[in-house]
Amino acid sequence: MINLLPFTRTALLIEGDALLIVSVRSTFTGTSSRTHERIEGFLTEPLDAIRAKGRAIEKTISDDVVLVVPASWCASRPVPMTTQGWHAKREARDELVEAYFPFGAREAIVGLLEFTPAGASETQGSLFVASSSQVGAWRERIEQVFSARIGEVLPSTMCTAGLGLQRHERALVLERDGRELATSYAWGRPSAVAEPFDEDEARDAELYVVGRIDESTRGARQVTPEQLAVGACLLPYVPGVRYRALGDAGKPRLDRRVPLAAAVTLLAVAGVLGSSALSDARARAGQERVEQQMAAHENELGDVQQLRDETTRLASSLDQIAQTTGQWSSVLPELEQALGVVPLDGFAHRIELTPGRVTITGESAKSLAVLESLENTPAFESARQTGTVSRSPRELETFSLQARRATTNGGVE
């Protein structure tokens, strides 16, 4: 059984003229039951005597009290009805009661067991009807003895669903209380409710008997009143079963799973929002500490930052100057080499040295020799004539040569 929240429920089971009081307590670690008392002559003994017995166990009774009435008090019948919209089906229920049950609609208190047999997809309903005056007498006496109010009245047949028969492929619970009524279970889920007992059918099933075991039910397992009371307490948590207790004709009973789910949801919401808020608060507190520490070393940091910025600025300027002047070199060696290509018997009229090239204009006995000399100078390359070679008034060959500088000395072309 899956149970998300703990609960304590007390079942008051009517057995003849006795009242059996059993509580079931479920926690996260497990479920336990405790039989508090069996009060004989509950309805017949003097009220004071019963009160004296009741007072001793009153504190052990939970707020959630269910009264279990014998199967013989109830009539039942399969009906095409479910618990959904139960409170709105009053008229339909009254018509069914008038038509099929030995109670007048005004006298009857009606309940419904809705179940989905194992492997089936459609739900079935079984209507239970009991006499309100018969139940009312016990209800009134109970409320006189105990301060607790009865929350639900359940027929014992409904309570057999809480016996925990899930381990049997087929089980049959026979209730012998004047009549013999059998309720069939498949893997713990009802498949037929309060049917006449069929011995042949019982052979294929695990048989449980509420009441005496005789020759016809030899080998069956006895269901004690205490077990039946425990079943009443666990009924809301049986899978595949929904129900309306006898007399539950007004507002629909709040499904016990709804507050459970609401509580879980609220806890989850609180957890999510709480963790978020807590995380935000911790972050803000941490930020505050950080700001305090920053403020504490503000002056020291300012000094170092200033030192760093000044050093970085100086280093940057030094680096820039070094990069700019890295290629700078004297122009004199190349100028001397350029002049050196003109032989002593020649004349240089113009020498121009730019960052990329050298241009020499002049005259010589052999201009080709000057061109070869320029080409062979390490500082220059790709030497060529750029003008016409002609005869000068000195009977020399004029020349105009140009060559690329092998290296530059940092100028802009």
């Binding site: 999510v272 950080v290 920053m294 020291e300 009229h349 020498i351």
Partner: protein
Amino acid sequence: MSPRRKLLLGVLAALIAIVLLDKLVLTGQANAANGDGTSPQEIYRARAALLDRQRALIDQRDEWQLANSRALEEWEALAEKLIVAQSVEIAEGELRERLVTIAMEMGLPRPDARALTPIVPDEASPIRVIRYNLLLSTENWESAFALIDRIETDPSTIANITEVMLDGPGLPQFETELTISLTVQAIALVESQRGRDAS
């Protein structure tokens, strides 16, 4: 589907909706209240990281002190050779004065000088390469070479000659009038008064 399963799925859907609401709406609104849409956690992490960097910088005080001393020493040696001026134009004028002085000191005629477009290695830096073209006449080529040498080795300036033009008949065999054209570049430190006040 069983009612219990429906219920659990419903609870799960509600939780997902709440988480999304918290993350997308509530947290977003809270973060928007911070001004720039960042969460307190993000701000805290950023500030903590900044604190770590600040502490690391403080721990490096000695290293920065040493580096600063070295840079200052190097800078002071270099600064003597820089043309320091409040504008490029003033620096160019200063360079012109220096070049003219050199020529005059060598007994050469006063040269004509024409400023060329300066080179800016980095706009953000105060370092500029200012350039000048000198034009003068001399009677012999030795004077031209001496002038070039003197400019390039001037201890008060970081200077360099990028272009030379020597124009004259029969150079160098005959002593005659030569026209000398030199393109000189020098390093200047241009720090405007306004910029210094601001810094």
